[in-house]
Symmetry: C2
Amino acid sequence: MSSTYKYQRPALTADCVLFTVDGGALKVLLVRRGREPYKGKLALPGGFVKRGETAVAAAIRESREETGYGIAERPEDCGIWSEPGRDPRGWVVSAAFWSFVPPEAVTGGSDASAALWVTFDEATDEPAADEMAFDHIDILWEAYRRLTISARSGPIGFRLMPSVFTLTQLQEVYEAVLFRKFDKRNFRRKILGLGVLRRENGKQKGHQRPAALYSFDHEKYENLRSKGIGFEI
Amino acid sequence: MSSTYKYQRPALTADCVLFTVDGGALKVLLVRRGREPYKGKLALPGGFVKRGETAVAAAIRESREETGYGIAERPEDCGIWSEPGRDPRGWVVSAAFWSFVPPEAVTGGSDASAALWVTFDEATDEPAADEMAFDHIDILWEAYRRLTISARSGPIGFRLMPSVFTLTQLQEVYEAVLFRKFDKRNFRRKILGLGVLRRENGKQKGHQRPAALYSFDHEKYENLRSKGIGFEI
DNA sequence: CCAATAGTGTCTCTAAGACAGTATGTT
DNA sequence: AACATACTGTCTTAGAGACACTATTGG
């Protein structure tokens, strides 16, 4: 019952895949590494977990420090990455997470940071994927897999919509995340039928016919999530 | 770029929640701890990750060492548990996993081990839940949450059925895992409609009318899993 | 013959998906 | 007036769920 072990200990890092939808495209936040190893390569934001904090807290902290972007909601698990040799510095295990960032944040990051939003397509296609540090390309794919599962099993709106939005905007987000198109009438029927949207006063300011504005009803939304009601458009 | 860090390192453990269905009840495999801390309390099988192995490999190895039960399939993620103070010995972070064990294994464990199968109800209800070491009761609940999600999104059969089985047995497993009953005709229609079962020759040996035997068609099963087809009975 | 379990078919209802035209604003 | 986008309803089809009786074996 001593506080030391005969076993060697790994270094523990926390990495975070941050998604957003911007201009109809699913994007992820990457940083260009300023030091070795993989200096100059693209990587997920992240860093070492400090004693006294949880791994998820470290992921939030490091993401904010490195990129200036705040995380809207509690990040979700994206696996434990412990393949020997995944980090040339030695035994480094990473706890990965993923989360959404609302689109307002896309233009609000700290200017001095090395963070950049890259479309998911660009990040995962050659040759950019080869430019990714460590096993981060694998983590990115796993995060996307979990994102799509999450998007299909419940409304994802809270996590990446602005506080007030139009139904067309909401549809565009779903189309970007799931890489498919929806029929406008069917989409509206389904979404409104969930009963989690609240009609807001006012109209969108646009160049053509203004659209009605909506927001999420937090209470009904949580109710729906906890009951685990399916959500297949 | 040295191989040492200014940061302290956590000890890393891997814990594994092993489920089975036995006698119509969902059960989990627990071990009674033989040493401090929490000596004499119930805990999940698990132990320290060694350098050169992945966390999931450690979970498989430790489970087998501690309990004698082999794991049928690759364990799935059950989160990273890193709350400060969760282990009185110091900074100990646990990577948790969950998996199924086919029912044949229930009677096949090593006799000398301190492992025992406990129904999920018993393990999670008071007062047994208070007898659980560390934060393992939380890990157990999280594993069950993930199990039910998995059971609803695809056929779980491969992972915990014997190689040949009857439709009634399969239904009993689903009912035990999901804590609900199914109509026999609807269940059969749905399962057979998936096209992943292969009719086997021979009949069940029983005391009444013998039932037809089935096995899983591995190829069609994997096809179904990869396509992510829903599975809501 | 009786007990026990295996096995089978129909109806209803809900929800997804396909489909085209009208309404309302801006310039 | 022309243009751009918002908004709306019906039909078809697939699948979930409720429901009760017959078939086959062992004792």
